[in-house]
Symmetry: C2
Subunit: 334 residues, 2 copies
């Protein structure tokens, strides 16, 4: 059986032309581009929680890179480097080969060089990725920058990934054609890197939908000390989910389903034309689905992220407030 060093060399050592020093030393070395800020994020994926071991190694590799790229997209940062740590129950070459295919395939598509990592044997397949991107000073799309009066925009469509999962779990019945449309959203999400870059100096605040639309918009509201009105009937649904729009399980997927990795962003009203032309240029649906509101006095000072966001956000269905039975995915929630 090949040793750790052989496996790393074989599957995880790829050219890193922009790094001063790539995989193989105690640290990697990079020379940051002068006058750029670095955007850095890390995500850990665990078998049985963030993916199923049966998902297929290429799919797992793709997703591990995609969820990290999505964090850069949400900041408007250009991807540059990544580090990959992986704990494997056993040194399974076939898995590593497939995983590396998915992981490096998406990395290369976005110009990411994998400059370091760690491979170890563990009881449960666990993947931890750190990603590094660049953004000009002051241009990062932060959660705390939404302003009352901003439009609320959503990219792509919402709920497909969650609907696929619900279908798989027997909680929702999709027709075959609908399932075929939804499953790729769950297994091979597309991080909206190009959109994030295009939104620099146009959007105010931005976040990617990983915990669910309502929860993630809630993070923006919480950080920006603002409220929001969301028009449920305007939220973008795929052709697959549109006929099921009145199904409460589907409404739950749309509002509270994670794993879509679309961007939710706020922008001033006078940027509407520019945003619409970005959507056309990128061939990506961009939908205006709400408005940022001033936070009422009662909303201020409420302890607890969820509570404050709940009070600050109204989701309206044809003008009537909707009630949500859950507002996102909390890994340690009750």
């Amino acid at each position: 059986m090949p040793g750790e060093f052989d496996l790393i060399a074989k599957y995880f050592s790829r050219p890193t032309p922009h790094a001063v020093l790539g995989v193989g030393d105690d640290c990697a070395l990079i020379k940051p581009t002068p006058d750029m800020e670095l955007a850095i994020s890390t995500d850990m994926l665990i078998a049985g929680r963030h993916f199923m071991p049966s998902d297929g190694p290429g799919t797992i590799g793709h997703k591990a890179m995609a969820v990290n790229l999505s964090d850069l997209a949400a900041m408007g940062a250009r991807p540059r480097y990544a580090l990959l740590s992986i704990a494997l129950p056993e040194a399974d070459e076939k898995f590593l080969q497939g995983f590396a295919g998915g992981f490096f395939g998406l990395a290369q598509k976005h110009g990411v060089e994998v400059i370091g990592g760690d491979t170890t044997r563990g009881g449960l397949l666990t993947i931890s990725v750190t990603i590094i991107g660049e953004v000009p000073p002051g241009q990062a799309l932060r959660r705390d920058a939404a302003q009352a009066g901003d439009d609320i925009w959503v990219s792509g469509t919402l709920g497909d990934a969650a609907a696929a999962l619900a279908h798989h779990q027997g909680k929702l019945r999709l027709e075959t054609g609908q399932a075929v449309q939804c499953f790729p959203r769950l297994f091979v999400p597309s991080p909206r890197i190009e959109l994030g870059l295009a939104l620099r100096r146009i959007a105010h605040a931005c976040i990617d939908v990983s915990d669910g639309f309502a929860a993630d918009l809630g993070h923006i509201l919480e950080r920006s000390y603002v409220g929001a009105d969301v028009w449920f009937e305007q939220l973008p649904l795929s052709d697959a989910l549109l006929p099921l729009r009145d199904n409460p399980a589907v409404q739950d997927c749309v509002l509270a389903g994670g794993d879509d990795y679309e961007l939710v962003f706020t922008a001033p009203v006078d940027k509407r034309e520019q945003i619409e032309s970005i959507g056309k240029k990128l061939d990506l649906r961009l939908t205006r689905a709400g408005q940022v509101t001033p936070l009422s006095l009662e909303g201020r000072g409420v302890k607890g992220e969820g509570e404050a966001a709940d009070k600050a956000m109204r989701i309206l269905h044809h003008g009537q407030p909707m009630l949500l039975d859950r507002s996102g995915f909390d890994h340690f929630g009750p």
Copy 2:
């Protein structure tokens, strides 16, 4: 039970005065110091493999930060930022509190700001840390820079951590006084950050002892295309292990035991005085224990890291070659 966001906020959100943006957005933002290179490393620690769940949360937190700092020490980089991902079987507040104490305690001692992370529920306690340091261009202490004729130096003492583990496992019998000396080396290792910084422009190549002295020196030889003679009787042993120097199990700890996190480095002969004065200044034992040799033709071109290093390195005990039955810790070895 508090949710993920509450737990993160309570234990893992600390001030990050040098970062543009710390924990709480999709990414952290940092402004790199102009004209510095960034040294970046990541390490994953898994319960039962890199630590025991019974080790105590503060100890586990300390070690998770220490092994990452040690990678920066080995590059001569100044610690700046870290990201922490942690998978927990359950949201155990007492564990998180203790862990954070050990982790942030050591981070603060070395000026490290924790700018991001990820917390999730998982079946096995797993910790992944990414660390970022700074080093002036061209001054990083790389593995590939050893030159024939260099002295080989070791900081501190070797084998204590492995001896403590062997004692714990019943493979080696230490007296109580010896065990008391060795156990802290296993549980609360001291990364040699100050030494790494002092060795810039003095040492040629450097590595930290995490896999074992012979294996880690082997990495330098492999990358630098050189050989080495090591004088076993010169290798630095603690007062605890010195009386046991002829015990083969102890010799194994000294040569092949990991987890010491000392630095092994090579330096030109004309730097001896400077290195000795660094040792005095830092109150840290620095021992010259071998010499880098030209690689014989037979050593070149051998496939496989271990094999080439085995051929390139001679460990001499009073002039006689010693045989090693293992050369380090390979997580996927046979």
